[in-house]
Amino acid sequence: MTGKERIARILRREPVDRIGIHEHFWGDTAKGWKDYLNGEGNLERFWDLDVCECWPLNLVADLDAGSVIVAEDENTATYYDGNRATLRKHKFKDGTPEHVDFFVKDRENWEAWAKPLLLAGALDRRINYAAYEQSRQIANEDGRYFVLSGVNVFELMTYLCGHENLLAGMALDPEWVADMVDVYSRMIVEAQTRLIEKSGLPDGIWFYDDLGYKEHPFLSPGMYDELVLPGHKRTMDFAHALGLPVILHSCGFVEPLVPGFIEAGVDCLQVIEIKAGMDLLKLQRLYGDKLCFMGGIDARVICSNDKALIDAELEAKIPVMKQGGNFIIHSDHSVPPTVKPEIFRYYLERAAALGKY
């Protein structure tokens, strides 16, 4: 059975040969494993994972912004990105730039600046057709389940306004946030429509929206239902209308939001972050009849590089999860370079053996 068939069948709850297997890696992991990978740059192929992803959409407000330097000193450069977020980057150190400020803090600059730019058309320039077509072809050749990936409304709004402005806005001016959700979710649907018409269907759609952190969701279930769910529902209804299942990624503790996710149309919930307080087996008990799960294997255990600990983690989770026929194994976030590749191979082999039907 190919990964493509396996994942399609798991998401439809049809019998398969074994549980699904997928993983994400830190950027540095491939570098650290260079010798072991023996020149293979495609980790999905090297480890024969079941899924192949492509991220072809760009929903930044100003496509032509580039990065405009606004201030500079000896060590740092401060610049605007396409969302007019002010970022500061170290000139001599690698790493994520610091968010200094956001231009869109409330309704005013959303309406005056971001919204008109987002609605200005030029949708074709936001879509990387070539990358999608190439990825789709490789996935087909390799027999992997091909997903069209992208961020959803919450994440897009945090890029534009930052978490604090957005979360305060949700409480102070919910109509403003509802308008952003409306605009972004329409854009997602329009861009995906265009892409799929021109370059063909994927096997599924994978949305990323980080709605939680350690032990808490960012917002209450009530606020999720009122403000974010309409955007999730619109984008997920679109996928379902094309017969495509939807995977939703969220970091953090989002258990209280799961009923809302189900209402929005999520078919598979991904990453189930154990260290943030998520409980895979509990979720299976509560929602296993309505959702598939991908994730929930404690990355700290994989990082221990200790086979006995890995065995214990897999034996505690796989036999229970596999009974549901709704499980794709994945760490609870991603695999860092400190994991030895030999250990990662051991982990995958054990998972496949324990997950066999």
């Binding site: 790493g95 994520t96 610091e98 968010h99 978490h163 604090e164 979360l167 305060a168 949700m170 409480a171 102070l172 952190y213 350690k214 032990e215 808490h216 969701p217 960012f218 917002l219 209450s220 606020m223 209280p256 943030a276």
Partner: protein, 213 residues
């Protein structure tokens, strides 16, 4: 003079209603409440109640953010009056996110809760070098230094700050509180911090008991 105003003030903070806070403070001062009463029995009581509900997952970040804004508005309006009444902050805290780390939502909530509990807070921002903490301690003479770290790779910088304070001969003058998602009580003990708490409301309570001790 009816104490209803104080209860309403507390409620207005909990609901994040800055306009109501403004009106109630004007009314309270007109009715001869002291600024200290309005602050402590109205505004701060509200913030503390909300802090507990935040900890219990009854309210979430949006509600706390707008409550903090309403509280700030209130304390600003009371500022001159408080000085006239001779009310002093209960202590000074220097806070920052440690070097290499840019996460500040949690640190900001801790700052707001500390301010809400009557502390003067000097916020050094994010990606703060150990030397910068040392300089700030020299300059502001705080009772407490509060360090936030969200990355397993930057947790070590909290130890770095403690060592820098030791090196500068200032460790004995301050209590060090640490926090952030990957931090645990055990880690706080290991690096010789004085206190750890898991959330912002408990951080403010802990800070109070540290200055009282």
């Amino acid at each position: 003079m009816s104490t209803e105003i104080l209860a309403n003030l507390s409620l207005a903070v909990q609901k994040g209603r800055a306009k109501d806070v403004e009106a109630l403070i004007a009314q309270g001062l007109a009715e001869d409440f002291t600024a200290q009463q309005l602050l402590e029995d109205g505004l701060l009581t509200g913030m503390n109640l909300l802090g507990v509900r935040f900890k219990n997952n009854e309210v979430f970040v949006p509600e706390v953010l707008i409550a903090a804004r309403a509280l700030n508005k209130g304390t600003l309006l009371l500022k001159t009056q408080l000085v006239e009444e001779g009310v002093k902050p209960i202590g000074t805290v220097v806070i920052g996110t440690v070097q290499g780390d840019l996460h500040d939502i949690g640190k900001n909530l801790v700052r707001m809760m500390l301010e809400g509990s009557g502390f003067q807070v000097i916020d050094l921002g994010v990606d703060v070098a150990p030397e910068t903490f040392v300089e700030a301690v020299r300059e502001h003479k705080p009772q407490i230094v509060a360090l936030s770290a969200l990355l397993t790779t930057t947790m070590g910088s909290q130890r770095g700050v403690i060592e820098a304070l030791e090196g500068a001969g200032l460790r004995g003058t301050v209590k060090v509180m640490i926090g952030g998602a990957p931090i645990t009580e055990a880690y706080a003990n290991e690096i010789g911090a004085d206190a750890y708490t898991a959330d912002a409301a408990s951080a403010a309570q802990m800070a109070k008991s540290l200055v009282a001790a």
